[in-house]
Symmetry: C2
């Protein structure tokens, strides 16, 4: 398999566009600055890409002023890497310094960039978190008063939800790589392999195919169907009649795929084969419903209707798919109550799943991008019948 990868990184125009869009929304919301401090948010506005976020020691801050480029307030260890982005104004402190972990430098920067006026946006809504200590956050609020923080999650969410073509190229690439890995996998698996062996084989094949990382891999074996899809792999060996599910979030240049595939070891139960066909058809219904103007709730109902008719006994996942991009899962969610309207450029997963027998689940997943008219499949469609190993 030889797939030409898209170029790494983005032209500066991509970041200029993102920043200008944020600034337009900030103006509408009366925000004189926007503060972001999580990995995807910092990367979205700067292009700063590093696995160094694995270390929880140091906070990282990026401030988007009302006009002009974002300003980075970061630990010295990141200065060299940040200097390669499009940013000009990079302010550092020699972290770790727990007594003042960037707080006073950030406070000065916020005061300067806002001239001490207005409110500062900060993501505070669903699916966000605060990647600095609560004690430091309270101190920061005290120092910057009378400046106050206001929830900016609607701004970030609206921006990130609709992807550019350059972002879609990266997601398509990793989806295509993983489609190949999944299609090829039966040749590399055999009866008697443990879950740990299977996961290792999958990861090795994924690296060989050209993925940068396998940030996420869950699944496992179950007689006639797996019981649970978020546990780590065990020493359990595959046996005749098992169903294997693998659900992966592999990464190319910081962009994720997120889809799964199911396999039977030898002959499995009729119930499992039947459940496979039901969720396959539910995915077809989701593909048919995925049009601009439809809501996530429409997607949910289109898929759930097929599963209800096919004997679904519930779903512990809580949703039938979600947004996808710089993170394994992004806003919005395909639930009965999510009224987010689909727009061209949104990358979504369709993930119908159901309990089809006591303690047995079947989940399918594909990755798509909403287009005018029919959606574009980023992953190659799963086989219509449960594939068999051995």
């Amino acid at each position: 398999m030889s797939i030409t990868p898209p170029p790494r990184g983005f032209p500066v125009s991509e970041f200029e566009t993102r920043t200008a869009k944020a600034q337009a929304r900030m103006a509408d919301a009366g925000l004189s600055a926007l503060l972001v401090l999580t990995e995807p948010e910092v990367r979205y506005f700067t292009g700063f890409l590093t696995p160094f976020w694995q270390s929880p020691t140091r906070p990282w801050f990026v401030v988007i002023p009302a006009t002009g480029k974002p300003v980075a307030v970061i630990p010295t260890i990141g200065a060299e890497c940040m200097a390669r982005t499009w940013l000009d104004d990079i302010r550092t402190w020699p972290a770790p310094v727990p007594q003042d972990e960037g707080v006073s430098l950030l406070a000065e920067t916020l005061k300067e960039l806002t001239a001490g006026r207005g409110n500062i946006g900060l993501p505070m809504g669903p699916e966000t978190s605060l990647r600095m200590s609560l004690n430091d956050f309270e101190r920061l609020k005290d120092i910057i008063a009378p400046l106050q923080f206001r929830d900016a999650s609607p701004i970030i969410r609206a921006l990130r939800m609709v992807k550019s073509e350059l972002e879609i190229d990266k997601t398509r690439h990793i989806c295509q790589l993983l489609s190949g890995v999944f299609e090829d996998l039966p040749r590399h698996l055999s009866l008697g392999m443990t879950e740990i062996d299977i996961f290792r084989t999958f990861k090795t094949r994924t690296l060989a195919a050209g993925a940068d990382d396998i940030a996420f891999l869950v699944g496992g074996l179950g007689e006639g169907g797996p019981a649970d899809i978020i546990s780590p792999p065990s020493d359990r060996r595959s046996r005749e009649g098992d169903v294997l599910i693998l659900d992966t979030g592999a990464v190319f240049d910081g962009y994720y795929c997120d889809f799964d595939r199911n396999y039977a070891f030898g002959d499995t139960t009729g119930a499992a084969k039947q459940a496979y066909q039901v969720v396959y058809q539910a995915t077809e219904a989701g593909l048919a419903a995925a049009r601009p103007g439809a809501t996530c709730a429409d997607l949910f109902h289109a898929m759930q209707r097929v599963m209800d008719a096919g004997g679904a006994m519930g779903n512990d996942v809580g949703r039938l798919g979600h947004g996808l991009g710089m993170q394994l899962t992004e806003w919005p969610s395909n639930t009965a109550t999510d009224m987010t309207v689909l727009e061209p450029g949104m990358i979504m997963t369709l993930e119908p799943g159901m309990t089809f027998a006591e303690g047995k689940v079947m989940v399918h997943e594909e990755n798509i991008v909403i287009r005018d008219g029919t959606p574009e499949l980023l992953s190659r469609r799963a086989p219509a019948e449960l594939p068999v190993i051995g």
Copy 2:
């Protein structure tokens, strides 16, 4: 290479001990409950291990009451996996439900377990973060009043800093696996490979050696020494005279190693070879200083003294090593001001690093456990001279 891995997971007694120690400290601090919500903290008290934390959608909560087992308040998708831990009381909500993302269920649980009295511990100090939305946290505070949150980071830090022998076994295992990968690596690298090729080869060898994951890999090539150690790999090809640094956090059963190795492609500069020897000797000084009763500042000064004498021009990393265990980096830090006293059972990295020429850095790292007397090396000692490829 054939290394027998230690058993996966822990006996229940491990979690009973951790919980009892926390409860003793909670009683001293006047806390009627302790709330944790990040991956390592939840895992520390429950054994709950899953890569599902990659998805930011759902918060997860574990409450440690004043007596008895921890109580989980988690999304339904995690119920099956959490039921395999030692916990009995698992309360779920069908996340995602952004209107009430577990907040009211958690509030009820906190009120019940504290009988509405006392303060609730929550990690709020250095190196912690709040893995739930600020809006939901504010709502939670309102609902549970007059119960209040108090900073519990000193409790969590003191507990997690000193490892059990079973934890040390896991870290030793991954350190030994990676020592083998690093020692073997020159046979698999050659002149002309790109950084991306080198990273992929390293990851593949690490999986083949028996690691579960490569959660962290940074480094790169530089003529006569790398410029920066946190950037992702590029298409830059290795050339005669380059120095390669690879710094990895690979994982076995949820426990990390964190160390690096340096290699020269062919003949490199005398300055690079000299710098290698300086940081090698700084590591020796760190090993000699790593005794119970010494402080992290003592470790810092022992290593920094050697580097100052050897021509160090500064250090952008901000510290010369740190704690290690369930996370790539943990409290404490080897800085001039960290007065944490070393105790037997603490796993530490010794990480002397310095800029030795304009834009060129040299960093060494080893992983050790503090013992009565001399420390135990968990990683196998780096070669005393800069190893050469090709």
